[in-house]
């Protein structure tokens, strides 16, 4: 057997290895080291965390490759980076830099309002956001090897992540419960390929790992999402926009591992200082909600 690089199995396989772990947004090598020492399983290299992107407005793009490189040099854990939805050249650049995962992300300003990146073409795996099963399966059909809830990034408000996780779960329950001769119609309603709907029917879950992202700010938020059945946690602004990032990072990692153990959750939640300031979702105009980006 010849060596095969970039197979779907090694792409989806890395996400399997991240399960039960926390992936943290970082903007400097120093933050990346803090995240690694706290027990993060990977970091997301960014120029600005979502809360700052939201505050700054304007067009948000892929990070400066210099920042991505510095972060890759600073840690031994996997490094992810974000490309704009549909911006396949940003993705090509990130692949050339050697990042371990690309997030085709609604946190950045979309570059294409109609087409997502053809992710199967790349050797580097992609993670994409989803609000429901149809969206998740469309991304997987395009080649995504990992899914995350969209939530509402940069808000410190977990309500949208909960909504998206529960929606995916409800959609999956419906697909599992349906008789096989109804799967075609369900696929049509979901806007998803029938083969993937059949796979969900058989597996009883998404065919790839499903993390939670978008609004997680506390250890309790992380454990809540884990108890709702997600495989792991992305924390964006929640760590480095809080009063004591190091303590909070450690606490979120431990809460994700021991998500079913309230005694551990109580212990790790003590004395973390102020969480990031939160935003009520109804105060964000619908056009400014990042979760509406992509389809």
């Amino acid at each position: 057997m010849e060596r095969e690089v970039g197979t779907f199995r090694v792409k989806a396989g890395l996400a399997e290895m991240l399960k039960g772990g926390v992936i943290m947004d970082v903007t400097t090598p120093e933050q990346a080291v803090i995240a690694e020492r706290a027990g993060a399983v990977a970091v997301m290299a960014l120029e600005r965390v979502p809360a700052d992107i939201r505050a700054a407005g304007g067009v948000a793009r892929m990070a400066d490759p210099r920042i991505v490189r510095e972060i890759m040099d600073a840690v031994t854990i996997p490094v992810m980076a974000k490309a704009r939805i549909g911006h396949f050249v940003e993705a090509q650049i990130l692949e050339a830099l050697g990042v371990d995962y690309i997030d085709e992300s609604e946190v950045l300003t979309p570059a294409d309002e109609q087409y997502h990146i053809d992710k199967a073409k790349f050797k580097v795996p992609f993670v994409c956001g989803a609000r429901n099963l149809g969206e998740a399966l469309r991304r997987i059909a395009e080649g995504a090897a990992m899914i995350r809830t969209k939530g509402e990034p940069g808000t410190g408000n977990v309500v949208e992540a909960v909504r998206h996780a529960r929606t995916v779960n409800a959609d999956i329950r419906r697909v599992v419960a349906a008789p096989e001769d109804e799967l075609g119609t369900i696929a049509k309603e979901l806007g998803a390929p029938i083969e993937l709907v059949r796979e969900v029917h058989e597996l009883g879950r998404l065919p790839v790992v499903n993390f939670s992202a978008g609004g997680i700010a506390t250890p309790a938020d992380a454990a809540l999402m884990m108890q709702l059945g997600v495989d792991g946690i992305f924390v964006g602004s929640g760590i480095f926009k809080s009063q004591d990032p190091e303590a909070r990072a450690r606490a979120v990692v431990r809460a994700t591992t021991h998500f079913q153990d309230p005694a551990v959750l109580a212990e790790v939640s003590v004395g973390l200082g102020e969480a990031m300031p939160g935003i009520e979702i109804s105060k964000i105009a619908p056009a400014e909600r990042m979760q509406e980006r992509g389809w």
């Binding site: 057997m1 095969e4 396989g13 399960k19 027990g39 031994t76 050797k123």
Partner: protein, 193 residues
């Protein structure tokens, strides 16, 4: 059959649990020291070795595993945690095997690959190796048997009760390595006890 633990602090836990259960083992997920009681063996799954190593110490699982009574099968991050030397790193580890490992030795995710491994001493026909940011072994002590290589690099080895693989048999349908662990290591250790 014996109860086999799967260390469940983080990583590819469910895949190992599924393979072990399909081979007839009673599977227990391990997060706290109490979960180690009465285990016939334990699997350390792939994941991030820095994260798992840290949590092994903090939640007091490391001393029991380090004592060396419980047979251990480690894959990828599990191999790293079993090694007594990790090149260029002082990260927490169990150190139960006299081997030196190099992390991310084949490169970053872009270079992750599948390739056949000549695992003949253990499995007869070659194994399908799935290597994800994988380590390999650069040096071994006298008691370590080398069981598989890729590019001449050691990717599968055994020292008594301890079996370590750089790759991920749990991501394939090939159950031979898990069966080897259960039959040749766990059962024999139980006989000796």
């Amino acid at each position: 059959m014996a109860t086999i633990g799967v260390l469940a602090l983080q990583g590819a836990v469910r895949e190992h649990a599924r393979v072990l259960a399909s081979l007839g083992a009673e599977v227990r997920l391990v997060k706290r020291p109490g979960d180690l009681e009465g285990l016939g063996g334990i699997v350390l799954p792939g994941g991030e070795s820095t994260t798992i190593g840290m949590l092994l110490e903090e939640y007091e699982l490391a001393p029991v595993l380090r004592a060396g009574e419980i047979p251990i099968f480690g894959t990828c991050a599990g191999m790293i945690l079993m090694a007594d030397e990790i090149e260029g790193s002082d990260q927490p580890r169990l150190g139960v095997m006299r081997v030196t490992v190099r992390r991310n030795a084949f490169g970053r995710q872009r270079e992750s690959f599948e390739e056949a491994i000549d695992g003949a001493p253990v499995t007869g026909d070659p194994l399908r190796g799935v290597f994800i940011r994988a380590p390999y072994v650069t040096d071994v002590g006298p008691d370590v048997e080398i069981l598989g290589r890729v590019d001449g690099k050691i990717v599968l080895c055994r020292q008594g009760r301890f079996l370590a693989a750089s790759f991920h048999p749990e991501l394939t349908d090939d159950r031979r390595l898990h069966r080897y662990f259960l039959e040749e290591i766990v059962q024999r250790a139980a006989h000796l006890a």
